[in-house]
């Protein structure tokens, strides 16, 4: 039983990760794919932050009276990752908006059909 408790955080992370991945590959709507990608990214944040926590510790801001601090290094990495993620999301959304204007739709199947029809 302690095995489950010890690794519970990883399992939650994995569940979120595969849910995001499933949305990314199984849905045809481009906007929904982007949302799946965003979910995948947030699950990766959890993947990094969960091991940094020390039970009984506190936030990594040095102050008198506190001895044990949680690890600040993953926080730094994830801070960067969040902002990069939003830049990626914005670029993806801009591409989706242009695709909509060029093809008239954001459904993957219809876009592929149009491309095939154009090639013939």
């Amino acid at each position: 039983m302690s095995e489950v408790a010890a690794h519970y955080s990883y399992w939650v992370t994995i569940f979120l990760m595969i849910a995001g991945m499933y949305i990314l590959i199984a849905r045809g709507n481009l906007l929904k794919k982007l949302i799946g990608l965003a979910i995948l990214q947030t699950s990766v944040y959890l993947l990094y932050i969960a091991p940094a926590k020390l039970i009984g510790g506190t936030a990594p801001i040095v102050a008198p009276g506190f001895e044990l601090y949680s690890n600040p290094l993953p926080h730094v990495l994830i801070l960067t990752a969040i902002v990069v993620g939003v830049a990626t999301l914005a670029l993806g959304l801009a591409l989706v908006a242009r695709i909509r204007e060029a093809y008239g739709t954001v459904e993957e199947d219809e876009i592929l059909q149009r491309d095939r029809a154009d090639e013939e």
Partner: protein, 169 residues
């Protein structure tokens, strides 16, 4: 959070999906606070629940609010996701258990940052000290990435309204 994500996967009305995404970001921010990551939680709340949701709403306004019915049952992607998840779960048994003080992540550079940081930089917030001083290069790179993202969006979407009305498709 799992419930919210499953709801997002199944919902077809995209507006509700975006709202659920905002809820998911807020829940993620609270979980992060519970894990003592206060800077990250503040950023995730501001960025994920704020800016991301607004951008998704604007994109939704530009494209359309309903997702088409899937043509074929998504059995292969579901099986693939579950297989990957199983493989990952198998791999986690080797990872250090939750809150293990002997894990490599806690014994390498982090104690030095925590001890020497406030002395060398004069800044009690170790995360800011590491971000701006010890790992300043990475933050420079990240600022450039944000700038590039903005420049890319400008390049993709820049068109004056007058021109657009002129060449209507």
């Amino acid at each position: 959070m799992a419930v919210v994500v499953v709801g997002m996967a199944l919902q077809r009305n995209l507006f509700s999906v975006v709202v659920l995404f905002g809820i998911y970001s807020f829940l993620m921010a609270t979980v992060l606070v519970a894990l003592d990551a206060v800077d990250v939680a503040m950023t995730e709340a501001a960025v994920g629940a704020g800016v991301s949701t607004v951008l998704l709403l604007s994109a939704l306004h530009l494209t359309g609010a309903e997702e088409a019915k899937p043509l074929h049952r998504p059995l292969l992607p579901l099986a693939l996701s579950l297989a990957v998840g199983g493989g990952l779960a198998y791999g986690t048994y080797d990872l250090p258990p939750f809150s293990d003080a002997q894990a490599p992540i806690h014994t390498h550079v982090a104690p030095r940052y925590l001890k020497e940081g406030p002395k060398e930089t004069g800044v009690p917030n170790v995360v800011t000290a590491v971000l701006a001083s010890y790992r300043g290069y990475d933050t420079l790179g990240e600022t450039v990435v944000v700038f590039t993202g903005g420049a890319g969006v400008i390049a993709l979407l820049r068109r004056r309204r007058r021109e657009k009305k002129g060449r209507d498709r």
